[in-house]
């Protein structure tokens, strides 16, 4: 210990005594630099993504004949870029997905956080987490080979095997763990004292959940909902496999028909052996759709953030 011989009389204290170890100061500066570089890296990546999107999107937007962007269908190789076909397709799949994942996810979260005994929770929670780890391509085939023939076609004869509805259910299955996990966190963070106050007045469990726990957790639930929507819009593989259309599609609003979403359209342009050469703007249209997708999910996340901040309660 170099500093062991501190002069306790205090008469000879100089600034050098308080400067500290040079080597340690330098080490700290290095650590700080490395960590801020890691933080800055993610910002850099975001900027580069936006840049690559904007560049090609700009080419598309400035050169395309806009009458082609609002038409009968999305056939980029034939210069038909009807964007509403894709947006409505994404919307249908998302609505079906949320209709499946919302009630089941929140229900599972309520069960886990309020009703399940510790032993049951220890078994059920990892099971839900395993579901979250299933690759989306597997869920896509599950939608195609089970959900569609065993559920949809059984109750609605004559439905094609590949439909937006089947894809929507598949997407719902995929995002159940996400909804359940975020909602459960939100509900478990509601302080125990609020539940006790409610029980202490003779409220039943169901009343306590609906009148106290859910309202107090509302910011988390809204966040769960919006993250789920954003995830459902962005989901690609399930839709690509189960929704039925790939290269192009006519405008379609019936969920029990095959359809095309923004993500599936992008995947099919980007994939496959029939590389895009024909129409000059086919390749750029991919970026146009990508930009749209990016703007939608970004604004959703911003709305979620704003909303969560606005309704957040302090305890």
């Amino acid at each position: 210990m170099a500093q062991a011989s501190i002069d306790r009389a205090g008469s000879t204290l100089t600034i050098d005594d308080l400067r500290g170890d040079r080597g340690r100061t330098r080490k700290e500066a290095v650590a700080r630099g490395l960590l801020s570089a890691a933080g800055g890296f993610s910002i850099l990546i975001s900027v580069l993504i936006v840049y690559s999107l904007v560049r090609e999107t700009w080419t598309f937007v400035t050169q395309v004949d806009w009458s082609l962007v609002w038409g009968d269908g999305w056939f980029p190789r034939r210069a038909m870029y009807d964007i509403k076909t894709l947006v409505v397709g994404s919307l249908i799949v998302t609505v079906v997905g949320i209709a499946v994942a919302g009630p089941i996810g929140v229900g599972a979260a309520i069960y886990l956080s309020e009703y399940a005994s510790r032993r049951v929770r220890r078994f059920v929670k990892p099971t839900i987490e395993i579901l979250a780890g299933v690759p989306s391509v597997v869920v896509g085939f599950f939608a195609l080979t089970f959900i569609s023939p065993e559920l949809i076609q059984r109750f609605r004869e004559g439905t094609p095997q590949q439909t937006m509805f089947a894809a929507g259910i598949g997407v719902g299955v995929l995002i159940i763990p996400l909804v359940a996990s975020i909602s459960e966190d939100a509900m478990r963070s509601v302080p125990r004292s609020l539940r006790e106050a409610s029980y202490g007045m003779g409220a039943k469990k169901a009343t306590t959940v609906t009148k106290v726990v859910l309202p107090a957790a509302v910011s988390g639930l809204v966040a769960a909902f919006i993250v789920a929507v954003s995830r459902a819009i962005g989901e690609t593989m399930v839709v690509f496999i189960a929704a039925g259309k790939s290269g192009g599609a006519l405008f379609e609003t019936n969920p029990f028909e095959p359809g095309l979403t923004m993500t599936a359209a992008m995947a099919s342009i980007a994939s496959g052996t029939d590389s895009v050469v024909g129409e000059a703007l086919t390749f750029q249209s991919l970026f146009f759709v990508g930009m749209l997708l990016f703007v939608i999910t970004l604004s959703l996340n911003m709305v979620a953030d704003r909303f969560v901040r606005r309704v957040r309660h302090k305890y």
């Binding site: 005994s117 510790r118 302080p191 004292s193 609020l194 539940r195 006790e196 106050a197 409610s198 029980y199 202490g200 007045m201 003779g202 409220a203 039943k204 009343t207 009148k211 106290v212 309202p215 107090a216 309660h313 302090k314 305890y315």
Partner: protein, 290 residues
Amino acid sequence: MANRTGATVSMDVGDLRDDSTTRSDAGNEDARAPVFQVDDLSVYYGSFRAIRNVTLQVEQQQITAFIGPSGCGKTTMLRCFNRMNDLIETARVEGCVAYHGVNLYEPGVNPVEVRRRIGMVFQKPNPFPKSIYDNVAYGPRVARMKGDMDEIVERSLRRGALWDEVKDRLKSSALGLSGGQQQRLCIARALAVDPEVILMDEPCSALDPIATGRIEDLMEEIKTEYTIIIVTHNMQQAARVSDMCAFFTTEVNEKSDTRTGLLIEFDRTEQMFSNPSDERTENYVTGRFG
């Protein structure tokens, strides 16, 4: 609301069952029959015994205080009176807590019914993140009480000695109130469902002396209508407000090195503080221990 004017409530388990909607009429037995008769009560959390062999009774329209050092099971004991311990998965109760002659732990007793009659105020003020009005109206709404809700809210807030301070901002958030106001709101909220008994778990431990004084005054006022059991760390508080006093302490279990609470002495408060019969009580109330 019916049975509070000194007459004894007679009750059987049917009153506490799930489907019960009415209270039985007042009987005409001895007016001083206890509200609670606790017999040989022990509480376990898993294999750990938190309190053992407690026997005491709680009289109507009196304030009964539970005092004792930390960890002696006062709160555990208090939570037996409205089956709040049910919320802890591992908790288990042995013995009998009779409420007007009905054992609260008898099969068929619904804790929801018990808690409507036996309200609770907690250590830390715990208003809901709702408006002041909705906090007070919560219990009556849950219990589907009849009558004008505005009136119920006003009456409860007046009883909670909070009305004058909040009458102009009933719709604003309860979380904007001061700690002392929040605690009085919690008392008003508990009173809103017209319970017969109020359990208070160290209601002033998070409050400053002025707010504490107001809560104590409030307890004095409402004890003509309610039976109150209060857990407190503050011996002066027990001496000031309570009629009866129970002193708990802990014993160390040699084998498991855990502590179990037990009741040492239960008597009139004056007696306990001036002339306790047990040396351990005397040591505690004179500040030599705990």
